[in-house]
């Protein structure tokens, strides 16, 4: 059974239909990337998956007892709110100290527990958000443009961390991203969205699909060619996947 699936999902935001007729299924352990132009309903789809947005039609089915880790697009913490990383990770439920430490380790920021959220760099902040999503050892990790505001190496390092997390914890990953080449390289499956599902499949299939080309042109072909080249050898993860 799929971890989470939608059947003919329709989403309405502020009176506007943002998504219609979306039927997708996420399987255990896979990395699925959602691409699409601005306003194509990517974030809305994720928000529906976590339950923050009610379907206007169709349905969402979650596996029983499904644990979801969610990393939002951005989080504006008002400067008037004093909060340490540790305090942030203990919301809304107090966590075991060991669990907090292990989540920070997995997210690659073991030493930040006592720091103020307001003092973190963009990359540190996103990793703390990732750590928060890992607290409940999720079956599925949902990331909404989690690298927005990070530079290219920062984004690449972040996605590398995601791959490590997936490998260690075996959770499925669903993410929205604009960093097409980085993301396509890391994905098992790509879902191209524009009000509906335009096309889906492995990165190669989607990149060759006329619907995808119509949306993104052929500009990303070079990056994808590089991807194919890089991944013709065995997939051992001991080498570094740095962004080109």
């Amino acid at each position: 059974m799929s971890l989470i699936s939608t059947n003919n999902l329709k989403l309405v935001l502020g009176g506007q239909i943002v998504l219609d007729g979306v039927s997708i299924a996420i399987e255990r352990g896979e990395i699925v990337t959602i691409v699409g132009p601005n306003g194509s309903g990517k974030s809305s789809l994720l928000r529906a998956l976590i339950g923050a947005l009610k379907p206007a039609g169709g349905s969402i089915t979650r596996a029983e007892g499904l644990r979801i880790g969610y990393v939002p697009q951005k989080l504006q913490i008002d400067a008037t709110l004093p909060l340490t990383v540790q305090g942030f990770l203990n919301l809304p439920r107090r966590q075991d100290r060991a669990i907090v430490t292990s989540a920070l380790n997995r997210a690659g920021v073991p030493d930040l527990a006592k720091r103020q959220m307001a003092d973190l760099s963009g990359g540190q902040f996103q990793r703390v958000l990732l750590a928060r999503a890992l607290l409940n050892t999720p079956d599925i990790l949902i990331l909404d443009e989690a690298t927005q505001g990070l530079d290219q190496p920062g984004a690449a390092a972040f996605y590398h961390q995601i791959e490590d997390v997936r490998r260690d914890m075996g959770c499925a990953v669903v993410m929205v991203s604009h960093d097409l080449h980085v993301v396509m390289a890391a994905s098992d499956r790509v879902l191209c969205l524009n009000g509906h599902v335009c096309c889906e499949g492995t990165p190669e299939i989607v990149a060759d699909a006329p619907e995808y080309r119509a949306l993104f042109g052929t500009g990303t072909q070079g990056a994808l060619a590089l991807y194919r080249h890089e991944h013709t050898h065995s997939h051992d993860h001991t080498h570094k996947h740095e962004a080109p």
Partner: protein, 263 residues
């Protein structure tokens, strides 16, 4: 002891300070200053309603403040910018309240008592209402503290963790209406929002966690209430505004000290 009007005034001031300050932290964190304005200004309309229907003032204010808080709360949930609309509500409520109180047929109402409070006229019954209301408001915040903080940080993140942000917003709305209703007698409709925001803002530089900020805000608000009361005797000034003046001075001191406290 409660027969002394000064003691009653001091207790009333402290009661309001303890209720308003932690709630004010949320008002500041969520950038809902207008929310406090609109709700507290609506209190005057509640006074008019209570007087015309011959109801207790507290009940009338509570009902109208709650209605206004629910309206504002519903509006702020929308995606469109509501800044101007909130301004209209805040000032419209005040103006309509003033008009409504002045056209009441059977009595001349002492407007300044409702605008600026009359803490020196607090009765034992008032005191019971103030401390009862304050206790409920603080209990609501303590009970929902973790969930309220989560919803304040990010509604979506809260939802993903099983917290319903709409419900938490409703809790805050309730606490706000209750605090406005108990604070009216002490600082008046015009200055309730000040008691929410100023102690919280003054507490910020001394705080490393939300909890310490709420406690610091409560301490600063209590100091403001007592010092303001004392100052109003010494300088023969109106008490409600004197309390807020002390709070504003504390804020200025705190803001001045803030650069020295950083790290």
């Amino acid at each position: 002891m409660l027969d002394d009007f000064v003691v009653r005034a001091a207790l009333a001031g402290v009661g309001v300070a303890l209720a308003a300050a932690p709630l004010g932290c949320f008002v500041v964190w969520r950038r809902m200053a207008y929310f406090g304005d609109a709700t507290s200004h609506a209190a005057l309309l509640g006074v008019a309603l209570a007087l015309s229907l011959d109801l207790p003032i507290f009940g009338g204010v509570l009902v109208v403040a709650l209605a206004m808080a629910l309206i504002v709360s519903g509006l702020t949930g929308r995606t469109v910018s509501t800044d101007a609309l909130l301004g209209v509500l805040a000032h419209g409520a005040l103006a309509i309240g003033l008009v409504a109180v002045s056209v009441l047929p059977n009595q001349r109402v002492d407007l300044s008592a409702y605008l600026f409070g009359e803490i020196l006229a607090v009765t034992k019954t008032d005191l019971a209402v103030i401390w009862g209301g304050a206790a409920v408001s603080v209990a609501l915040l303590v009970w929902r503290w973790q969930a309220l903080l989560s919803a304040t940080l990010s509604p979506d993140l809260a939802t993903a963790s099983g917290v319903n942000p709409k419900r938490e917003q409703l809790i805050l709305t309730l606490a706000l209406a209750l605090t406005v209703a108990v604070a009216l007698k002490v600082v008046g409709a015009l200055l309730i929002a000040a008691m929410l925001i100023i102690p919280a803002a003054a507490a910020r530089p001394f705080s490393r966690s939300p909890e310490t900020m709420a406690i610091m805000a409560a301490i600063l608000a209590t100091v403001s209430a007592l010092a303001g009361l004392a100052a109003s005797f010494v300088f023969d000034t109106p008490t409600g505004p004197s309390i807020v003046t002390v709070a504003a001075i504390l804020f200025a001191l705190s803001a001045g000290l803030a650069p020295l406290l950083r790290r």
